[in-house]
């Protein structure tokens, strides 16, 4: 099983690129090492509490009948985090403050049953899915803008991510979550030419587009506090000189 999950994660000395559409910028990391040798974590049921009410696709509401049960035709309107006793923030196991800046969590969430819809709010409460600019807000409660069963993302320090789920069947289902994750120790490459080659996809990197289409002020604030900048602008392959000049300036400000 190990070799299979290893393929999902970034290997030591590989690169990880986190692209943010709203900024047209990307964070580029070299993975110095992955701390956790066992990347699979069976978390247990979704964080749904017996007795709470959820809205339904029909416009009504329904009560969660038992802990971890996703009721039929229901969705979580606001993103949820995953509690973990003993974690830095016990309400959100993936949250770390800015002084964990050399750590990045690469998280693949797999939900059973796999037909449940999932999306992520960054930060919690800010729905990021959009269609035709801001014409339509998408997500688990809409007809597009979600995936089913699996979602991959990178958790950046100082930001709470909120996951949402929806069940468009008539089945009230018990749920389970399995994380495949890498706790990476990272650094930003200090070579502007290498960063340009990564961002023009001439050097291989695991590229994740974070669903950041709406720029909440907390995102820029978190990036500045954690990394000292908001990422490297993505230039076209014909803009090398301009890119290198700007990257060299940004590298001087990078905190990790």
């Amino acid at each position: 099983m190990g070799w299979k999950v290893d393929k999902l994660l970034v290997q030591e000395n590989g690169f990880l690129t986190c692209y943010m559409p709203a900024l047209n910028r990307a964070l580029v990391f070299r993975v110095k090492c992955r701390v956790n040798r066992e990347p699979v974590f069976n978390y247990g049921p979704l964080p749904l509490t017996a007795g709470e009410t959820l809205p339904t696709f029909e416009g009504g509401s329904v009560t969660v009948p038992a802990g971890g049960v996703m009721p039929a035709r229901a969705y979580t309107p606001t993103g949820r985090s995953f509690p973990m006793p003993g974690a830095y923030d016990e309400t959100d196991m993936w949250y770390v403050p800015e002084d964990y800046r050399e750590r990045v969590f690469h998280v693949i969430q797999k939900i059973t049953p796999s037909f449940l819809r999932v999306d992520v709010q960054i930060p919690t409460g800010v729905t990021q899915g959009r269609f035709q600019k801001d014409k339509i807000v998408t997500g688990v409660d809409a007809s597009l803008g979600f995936s089913r069963g699996t979602i991959e993302t990178v958790h950046l320090p100082r930001l709470h991510y909120g996951y949402r789920w929806a069940n468009d069947t008539n089945l009230s289902v018990y749920s389970s979550v399995r994380f495949t994750y890498g706790e990476y120790v990272v650094e930003t490459p200090k070579d502007a030419s290498l960063i340009f080659d990564i961002l023009t996809r001439r050097v291989q990197s695991h590229w994740i587009s974070l669903p950041i289409n709406v720029l909440d002020p907390s995102i820029e604030s978190a990036l500045m506090l954690t990394y000292g900048f908001t990422g490297f602008p993505v230039y076209g392959i014909h803009q090398r000189d301009q890119a290198l000049k700007e990257y060299n300036e940004l590298i001087k400000r990078v905190k990790v």
Binding site: S114, F115, S147, R148, T169, L171, V173
Partner: protein, 124 residues
């Protein structure tokens, strides 16, 4: 998405719709609604109990006030006992709108009847 394969067990006394249950289900149902864009595949069917004609029935719109159901498959258990049907190719039911659903109905027979299905929900 990854395919979800699960076992559904059903029971009925006399004729009518089987009440369906599963380890995944917190509450029983009488039909299964197929999410938009996905398919339900029924790979195996086991019928046990008293003699029965058992139908897999489909409706294109389970949200209608009176859904219309049509038979997709009918299997006969001629006398009390058990029959097990492993399909080389599954019965496939498409979810085009998200309103499609299927159920299992006992068309004829008296006494208790039981079914077990292996159902897969998948994109392909």
């Amino acid at each position: 998405m990854e395919n979800e394969l699960f076992t559904v067990q059903g029971s009925v006394s006399g004729t009518g719709d089987y009440t369906l249950d599963s380890d995944l289900l917190q509450a029983t149902v009488t039909y299964i609604r197929i999410p938009r864009g996905l398919k339900a595949k029924i790979w195996t069917k086991r019928i046990a109990g008293e003699a029965a004609d058992v139908a897999i029935r489909f409706t294109p719109d389970v949200t209608a006030p009176s859904p219309t159901w049509k038979n997709l498959d009918v299997q006969k258990l001629a006398s009390a006992g058990e029959i097990s049907l492993e399909k080389r190719r599954p019965i496939v039911i498409h979810g085009f709108t998200g309103n499609e659903a299927f159920k299992i109905t006992r068309l004829t027979g008296t006494g208790n009847s039981y079914i077990t299905l292996e159902v897969e929900i998948s994109e392909e």
